[in-house]
Symmetry: C2
Subunit: 532 residues, 2 copies
């Protein structure tokens, strides 16, 4: 029940044979006990073979059994108690409340998929009955439903040690789809990974799931990660992280003999547009909300508001005053690891030294030089600079935002038009103000997965109508979300049965509808049985 | 109203500046008048820019207007009359009945998508209403619907001059999704392409669609085709054709700065399993059906039954006798072009010379040496050979099938297990016989997009429950079908609106549901309005 440093694959806990390492506490820079292990090539192969063997039995589990498994995982995660949240805090520098909140979200996601999969909507069951009398040719009986795509490799994110990690959204949606999962945990929180894997392993055992339904392997991306993506057993990849990391996996997946989809969510600038009347009516409220969103979790969110766009008005100057005064009070925070902290330091230094960029405010400096602290920062530049200098449109991971000051509405539209794909776009507008900005919403909508009004992009709601994804480079495939029930669609494929006898049909398509799910029968949604 | 040799792009007919050529009659090998033209690089760029400009206005058309456009295309295609079917026959060697049947299917597909898009199901509208009182954080109002992915490049197939060509399934589903389309027509039936483009152009004009909503460019794959796939304006590619062609496009699409999805349907062996009791009870019927399916359209279907798997029983010998006798009566047919005919000749010669392969029967030879005729052929081999020799598992495009004789049930399973992804798999079984072959259905199902019972794979039904696609290498993305209403899903992406005022929401998500579509509101399907 404690961190051992072992890996879980093929239904067993084993010591990794690919090397040793220790987790690090980012608040101190000191190693955390105990010594941990990495998977060897042979151990990754064993995990892959086990996942392949688990595919047939696992995808045949009933929706109800699969829902029980997902709920059992949530129960077991909660049963880990404070041990889990304490390890999260040790490994990430996050405060306890954040760890507890993220745990609640993680368990909530698992239970949401349990409910969803039990309803059977993800099966998208369709039946078109036969018509022997049709001319010129008789119409066959055809039936369609989704089935698991195959074993899925999941890469945990550094910044969500629970919700986008071992039992996070990718794992929950893939398991819900009927796909065995192999997680490569993130080296920034390996002990957390192991504890959550213990919870999943216990749930798999108590729910009689096949060994291989879930594995946790730790190791380097270039070794363990690449081996997973290149393996013929793997049929899809879920990833949350950097553009560079996501594109490396995408490239690898598309140079395989059999190309496979990579669902990489790679962050974005998350532009926030502040219209003048909105600032006029609620300058302080917007400034407070903005600083809160910018500095939440030390800015380490893929939906962190990295760019603000506004017209050059007196209201904007008031916004600057209010924001700078709030930001100056913000304590420095601990970043997740040295690599992220170094990158933040370098990028903010480069920003300060960029022609035409002015630093408006910085947060409090830390009094302590230990660990990996970061100060929040707000900068400004002109739309002209923003449009001409592509480096200003690159994400800096951390609590920094660049305000782009636009001379007029045309320049605002030009600045938005030069943005590449984004996870989110936000507009603050007073009532009726959008009438004067008809094209603005359309222009932003064409570039984002989610459009937020009079709010902030952080705090991604987990629900059926969420889209967490967006046009490239926000994600590799804008047709899918990695948050919400629709995330399951990434890991399903349809299959059609033509004139199949009832005995070979999956339960979802049998005449008498034993799952009692809603099906599209001859183009009408119904739970009724079908007669031939 | 006749073939002119011009190309259609940016809302105008223009003579291509990339070279001249003529269509060829495959029955005679002689050129068909008039002289035709290919697009220059600059003309392809003009088509791309026009498609980009058309995106915003076209995707904002109402479902009803888009349905009218699709129906108008079907009307205009029918209005071309015999001129169209005669040109099809001239360019393909197909008999008039086939041309008329394919025209009916093409128009039927367009009308099906018109009905489908008018219902709004493809929008997948979801609304989760706000809850200001929720703890620990208020729940926002989030709403989700699909929108057009962007301009789509469609590559016509050689073997379906209408149904998988200029106004075929890819075009129909992309236009239904709200995506402008640029078609690169197939050089095997360029006059047919132009006539159909005339129909679409007239429909676009009468329905007041933006110029650029549809373009037809002709030319070489390595020039025009590559330019389309590499263009930043293009957001997805539809292709039906060879493995080599599909993978070339897939590779190109994934080496772009922004990778895009390529939906390539690349054919397959379409294994047909004949179980002993099925043969015992209906040997002649199965043999006749099989020869009909094998030789339909001179075997030029991606779902042509290229492999038969059966146990070594006396019933199989009867099947051979019946099949050979039927096949010997089949006249030679005209293949679509010289390249296809040469490839068929070479591949069937190589098959004859393969160790362990016996030719059982051939169809009639032609009396005429003109054009590109092909004889049907049936061969047999052992499961041992089939398993050990990978070249026997490669598709030969044309009217040839290889019967794999299996010593026992284990060998039958082993032969199926060595198959890669397939569009279809077929099982002939007498009533109750499948009880003795529990694993057979599962094993085949894991490898196919469509499973057919007691029938043949040719004759793809166009309906909501069809799957035309399959695990690689049958298609590049097994999660999608290129036939049936679900084909539209390839060309859509979801977008989420958070706390959006009613005025900026698309009609699909407005409070009062002006489209009167079925929406998922707080997880319940309903057509009711929403109150905030």
């Amino acid at each position: 029940m404690s961190v051992t440093g072992n890996l879980y694959f093929n239904g067993r806990w084993q010591s990794g044979e690919g090397g040793q390492y220790q987790a690090e506490n980012p608040a101190t820079g000191l190693p955390i006990d105990p010594v941990l292990t990495k998977a060897s090539e042979a151990q990754v192969s064993e995990a892959l073979a086990a996942a392949q063997r688990a595919l047939a039995p696992y995808q045949q589990t009933s929706p109800v059994d699969r829902a029980s498994f997902l709920n059992a995982i949530a129960d077991e995660i909660m049963a880990l108690g404070d041990q889990l949240t304490e390890r999260v805090c040790q490994e990430t520098g996050y405060p306890k409340m954040r760890a507890e909140g993220e745990r609640a979200r993680t368990c909530g996601q698992l239970r949401m998929f349990a409910d969803f999969v039990a309803k059977g909507d993800h099966l998208d069951a369709r039946i078109d009955t036969a018509d022997a009398a049709r001319k010129p040719a008789p119409k066959p009986d055809t039936r369609y439903c989704n089935q698991a795509l195959g074993p899925v490799a999941v890469f945990g994110a550094s910044n969500f040690p629970l919700a986008f990690s071992v039992a996070g959204g990718d794992t929950a949606s893939a398991l819900a789809a009927g796909c065995p999962v192999i997680v490569k945990g993130h080296s920034s929180h390996p002990g957390t990974c192991e504890l959550v894997a213990q919870a999943i392993a216990r749930a798999a055992l108590s729910c009689h799931m096949p060994p291989g339904v879930f594995s946790l392997v730790m190791g380097e991306g270039r070794q363990v990660g690449s081996a997973l993506v290149a393996a013929p057993e793997i049929k899809a990849v879920g990833f949350t992280g950097s553009l560079q990391g996501g594109m490396a996996l995408h490239k690898l997946a598309n140079t395989r003999q059999e190309p496979i989809p990579v669902f990489a969510e790679m962050g974005s600038l998350n532009p926030v547009v502040l219209l003048p009347q909105a600032l006029d009516s609620n300058c302080t409220g917007i400034a407070e909300g903005f600083v809160g969103s910018l500095t939440l979790g030390v800015g380490q969110f893929c939906v962190n508001p990295g760019v603000v766009l506004a017209l050059d008005t007196p209201e904007l100057e008031e916004f600057f005053t209010a924001t700078c005064s709030a930001l100056a009070q913000v304590d420095s925070g601990i970043m997740l690891n040295q690599r992220i902290c170094d990158a933040y330091t370098q990028s903010t230094e480069a920003l300060q030294n960029t022609n035409g960029v002015t630093i408006l405010a910085s947060g409090q400096a830390t009094g302590n030089s230990a660990g990996y602290p970061a100060q929040a920062m707000l900068a400004r530049t002109s739309a002209e600079n923003f449009i001409s200098n592509v480096s200003l449109r690159e994400e800096i991971f951390g609590p920094v935002s660049l305000v782009v000051v636009c001379r007029d509405q045309d320049e605002l539209m030009a600045a938005i038009s030069c943005l590449s794909g984004q996870l989110t776009g936000t507009i603050h507008a007073a009532e009726g103000e959008l009438d004067n900005y008809q094209d603005l919403t359309d222009c932003l909508r064409a570039r984002v997965g989610r459009l937020v009004f009079n709010g902030f992009p952080t705090g991604v709601e987990v629900c059926p109508s969420m889209v967490h994804g967006g046009p490239f480079p926000a994600s590799t495939d804008t047709r899918f979300t990695s948050v919400g029930t629709a995330a399951i669609e990434r890991f399903l494929r349809p299959v059609c049965f033509q004139d199949a006898p009832n005995c070979v049909l999956p339960d979802a398509l049998k005449d008498d509808n034993p799952l009692n799910i809603v099906r599209r029968v001859n183009n009408n949604l119904t739970q009724d049985p079908v007669t031939r």
